[in-house]
């Protein structure tokens, strides 16, 4: 076999150098030589992925941490214990496991399995999504208190929390609903995992955050010194689901272990403004007919809010569809064909090297745009419903005689325990009994 590689003309090399993009498949240009000297071909090694067993170990750790968090917050009533668990969560789920996969992001995996029948939800991911919700249904948001790595890292930065005005926090409280809806919408249309893309802290856990993430996550941490846990309260999409399930919780953290004596000492204890103060008993009662009329009015306004939201969502659909890479590619290619841009992007060059004709791409983009519009109209209706229900809730007059934790927004961190004199009495009693 007389074959010299030098015989290949250099012109071919120039073709490569020009960088013609083509799908490279194995072609047998040069048959495998028959070696005389007994050459032994080295094996191509494929290192195994992280064993699945480790994934189940993570779930065991998660379940254990949730049990511990529930016990520390509800039974032991130990802020110190919760704090230590917080540090542990940052260390294990943050720096050791490097942040993926987290229950916040798993919303998208569950949605993907819901909308894309070719994606099978792995058992481990299903459990990572379900466990915090189940615990929340029984014990409140103990996951938020000290198990969630995103919450835990922010909790360590709570320094000098200020009160956020009620109206402002209510308006900002709409953002998690929007974020949750958008996350599901973008998964449904195939645009991708938006929550993971804007994860503020994963780069810190991996110690290699890109510049944008340093500003985004670092900014949130700095803001969190004064507005405690901004991501948890005003962005986290899982917080919406956990808040709902916490409303139904069987047991929940209480400020006082005993009866509330209305001493007002806990009023400033909650950095998350999740303590609801008692209504003023001296206040004159509003005539019943008037409050009924107001409730009726706001119930009647609900459909209007939903309609407004739906319309807004429908018109935002065009812009939202640009999150999908196929839509962006179609726009780009049409723009290039119209002579709008001088240089050809890598994406469009790759697309042109493929076999799909431009019209079918445009058609595909149109279809995606259509579903995005439908989805974003639904998202708008949902947001309208949330706004309407929020106003309706404001308009309801609830009589409260005690300082209570807002079960929806309380993160079960246990900071209020120490503020309650009843708690100190309880602890003193216990220690007295112990010495007797």
């Amino acid at each position: 076999m007389c074959r010299s590689s030098l015989a290949i003309p250099f012109g071919m090399f120039i073709v490569i150098a020009l960088g013609a993009l083509s799908n490279v498949v194995a072609v047998n240009r040069f048959p495998r030589p028959e070696f005389q000297g007994g050459y032994e071909q080295p094996p191509t090694v494929f290192p195994a992925a992280r064993p699945e067993l480790f994934g189940y170990m993570d779930i065991a750790v998660l379940a254990g941490a949730l049990c511990l968090a529930a016990w520390l917050a509800l039974k032991k009533r130990s802020r110190k214990g919760v704090f230590l668990l917080t540090v542990g969560a940052v260390a294990y789920f943050g720096f050791f496991r490097k942040g993926c996969i987290c229950p916040v992001g798993s919303i998208q995996n569950v949605s993907l399995a819901l909308f894309d029948s070719s994606f099978a939800l792995p058992i481990a991911v299903g459990l990572i999504f379900g466990l915090p919700l189940v615990f929340s249904l029984f014990f409140g948001r103990v996951f938020c208190s000290s198990v969630c790595p995103l919450g835990a890292i922010q909790d360590l930065f709570v320094l000098n929390p200020v009160k956020v005005p009620r109206l402002m926090s209510s308006v900002l409280g709409l953002l998690p609903h929007l974020y949750l809806g958008a996350a599901i919408l973008f998964v449904a249309t195939g645009a991708g995992f938006v929550v993971c893309r804007f994860d503020p802290f994963v780069g810190f856990f991996r110690l290699n955050a890109p510049v944008g993430m340093i500003f985004w996550g670092g900014g949130l941490l700095l803001l969190g010194m004064f507005v405690a846990r901004p991501y948890c309260r005003f962005l986290c999409p899982l917080g919406v689901l956990l808040g709902w399930s916490s409303l139904l919780s069987r047991r929940h953290v209480t400020i006082t272990p005993d009866t509330c004596i209305n001493c007002r000492l806990c009023e400033d204890a909650c950095p998350f403004d999740a303590i609801r103060v008692p209504t003023d008993p001296g206040q004159a009662q509003e005539p019943r007919s008037r409050s009924v009329r107001r409730v009726l009015l706001h119930s009647a306004l609900l459909p209007l809010w939903m309609l407004l939201g739906g319309l807004g969502g429908y018109f935002a659909g065009d812009a939202l569809s640009l999150a999908h890479h196929r839509v962006r590619l179609a726009e780009r290619i049409l723009d290039e064909e119209a002579g709008g841009s001088d240089n050809v992007s890598l994406e469009s060059r790759t697309f042109r090297a493929g076999t799909v004709p431009v019209p079918s791409l445009v058609q595909q983009a149109q279809a995606i745009r259509k579903t995005t519009k439908k989805g974003s109209a639904l998202l708008g209706i949902y947001l309208g419903l949330v706004i309407g229900l929020g106003i309706l809730r404001f308009s309801l007059q609830r009589k409260r005689t005690e300082y209570t934790a807002d079960t929806q927004h309380c993160l079960s961190c246990g900071r209020c325990f120490q503020a309650c004199p009843q708690e100190h009495r309880r602890l003193a009693n216990i220690s007295k009994k112990g010495t007797e």
């Binding site: 290949i8 250099f10 799908n23 047998n28 939800l121």
Partner: protein, 200 residues
């Protein structure tokens, strides 16, 4: 203080006991419904293969754009060049190893295509050379893959190496891949190797 709490306690039982009871009952119903819904939903969604997923790139779709080297959160990238030796022609002038305008066909740095010098060229017998990838040096730029594919047998190809990959929930390279070559694969079969007959 005492009188206030007592008066409220006196007033409370007749007013709120049934209310609280009803509330508690509704909460129990709501909780049971939520649990049932969550359980049924997750049970329905957990289909085969039920295994955890990992990211991999399909060498048939890959266009060697070079983004694997820059978009991965790992540094150097978790994508590495892999050599399918059974496809290799063991050429003396290797399109994956040598610069297109290489003056001499030896291992001097100015002749090499690889920007990190990650390909080790060993003489076997005249005129055949073996090419091995040093994965510690490889940054997954795919220059050698493009060279070998356009000119040689296409025995070099890119793969996500799972001893390096940390398996992000959404692969940052997949988001930026112009050819949509990345997809999730079951964790027990995490590679898409190239085979002898050209089938990936």
């Amino acid at each position: 203080m005492e009188t206030k709490s007592e008066s409220s306690e006196k007033k409370q039982p007749e007013q709120s006991a049934p209310f609280n009871k009803r509330r508690g009952f509704l909460k129990t119903i709501g909780r049971s419904a939520a649990l049932a819904g969550l359980g049924a939903g997750l049970f329905g969604l957990i289909r085969r293969p039920k295994a955890a997923m990992a990211w991999q790139l399909d060498p048939k779709k890959c266009v060697q754009c070079g983004r694997c080297a820059t978009e991965c959160i790992m540094e150097p990238s978790a994508v590495k060049c892999v050599h399918a030796y059974e496809i290799c022609g063991y050429c003396k002038l290797c399109g994956g190893y040598h610069q297109p305008n290489a003056r001499q066909l030896h291992t001097a740095a100015e002749n090499q295509l690889c920007p990190t010098g990650a390909i080790v060229r060993t003489f076997i017998e005249d005129p055949f050379f073996e090419y091995r990838i040093d994965e510690n040096l490889c940054n997954g730029c795919g220059k050698c893959v493009a060279g070998c594919g356009s000119f040689g047998n296409g025995s070099l190809y890119l793969q996500v190496r799972h001893n390096v990959c940390v398996n992000c929930n959404e692969c940052t390279i997949a988001v930026r891949c112009p050819a949509q070559a990345f997809r999730r694969v079951p964790i027990y079969a995490p590679y898409i190797p190239k085979k002898k007959d050209g089938e990936a």
